[in-house]
Structure formats: C-alpha cells, structure tokens
Amino acid sequence: MAEAKDGCVKPSKGPIALEAPNQEPLTVTLGKEVSKMLARVGKPAPDFELAAFVDGGFKNVRLSDYKGKWIVICFYPGDFTFV
C-alpha cells in the first residue's frame, strides 16, 4: 500500500543524541525520555530532526544538515500569539 504523501501524522526523530563512543551511553535516547537541558554556549548544538512547513510544502528538517553555515534557531510560544 502506498504511503500517503502528506499524511495526518509525520514522525520525526526529535532530539538526536550525540555520538559518544568512549563514554557510558547518554541518558538521552532517540526521541524519548529527553528532558535534560543540553544546550550550553561554547558547546555543540544538540541536533534534532523535526517536521516542518518549508516553501509551501511539508518536509522534515535536520539541523545538522546545515553544519558549516551560521544558524539561528528561534523558539516561540505559538502560531497566532500576539507578541
């Protein structure tokens, strides 16, 4: 059965744990049980993949695909909010 192109539900990986080959496994697992804040200035940006609305269409965006460029990410409380 063909998969619906833009179906009702689009899984994405969410936060993606950093590779840490020589350490105990991080408490972060792929897309689950992630509550620990990892973002620090001067430290690597936590990677993620999320569903997105881009150029009139839907696709998943992975942050690390933009490595090598300057990036700004802005969180905001919600569409249609006032400020």
Binding site: P15, A39, V61, I73, Y76, P77, D79, F80
Partner: protein
C-alpha cells in the same frame, strides 16, 4: 550575512501553514522566508531548556550556532516580551567578525566600531581603547 534561520513552536506543521498563509503573509510579502518547524511535545525545546511543561509550549528562546556547530549565544525570554532583531543581527555580525579576525568586540560594539586585540600589551590599558560611552 549568510545565516540559516529556523523557527520552532509546538504547533503542528498544518497550523504553521495556515499561520503563514493567513497572517504572516500579510505582514511580510510572500510570508516569512524561513522554515517553521513543529516541535510537537516540546521534545527539542526540553533539550534547549526552553520548554515550559506547565503551559506545554516552547518559550522565546534564541540560539546562534556557528559553522562548527557550536552554540555561540542564547537568549531566553518569558513570552510577554518580544525580541530585538537588531541585537540578534549585531551579535551574529560580532561573532562572524571574531571568528574571521581573532579580534574581540567590546561592549556596545557595532560593525565599523573599534575592536580589541587581546594580549599582554592590553592588560591595564583597556581604558585607553574603550570608554563607557562606547557601551551604548
């Protein structure tokens, strides 16, 4: 400046589409020129320290990431106060300048204003190079 911008909220991509088409496009011709990402459940916001569990939304957090994929700056506000885009642009230009030149930018630096070159010669001599009024 060559910067990739991403906006994230806990809304669905469908909500993003309608917001872009019905409202943002009336503020910015053609709509905002960057992707709107759906951080369902605040999974990514939690990792970036901006997810408000009580409200179930990502609060206003902004992060500058350099080409080596390191976070250079972050700013987090509770939702009532909007951001200052001029300050964001100033910070991006400052970080781009220091990465390119190895110089540092003192408080209040704007493109074109003097920078500092740290080193033994500057110890105790910053007062000659920088005045408090330069901070504004």
């Amino acid at each position: 400046m060559g910067v990739e911008i991403f906006a994230l909220s806990t809304d669905s991509r469908f909500s993003h589409k309608i917001w872009q088409e019905e409202e943002l496009s009336k503020m910015v011709p053609g709509g905002v020129p960057f992707p709107l990402l759906s951080d369902a459940g605040g999974r990514v916001g939690s990792v970036y320290g901006v997810y408000d569990e009580d409200a179930g939304v990502d609060i206003r957090g902004r992060f500058i990431i350099d080409p080596d994929f390191n976070i250079r700056a972050m700013e987090v506000l509770t939702p009532e106060v909007g951001r200052n885009v001029s300050e964001l642009i100033r910070q991006v230009k400052a970080f781009q300048h220091v990465v390119k030149t190895g110089e540092v930018t003192p408080s209040g630096w704007q493109p074109g204003k003097p920078t500092l070159s740290p080193g033994p010669h500057l110890v105790g001599k910053v007062w000659k190079e920088w005045k408090p009024e330069d901070a504004f």
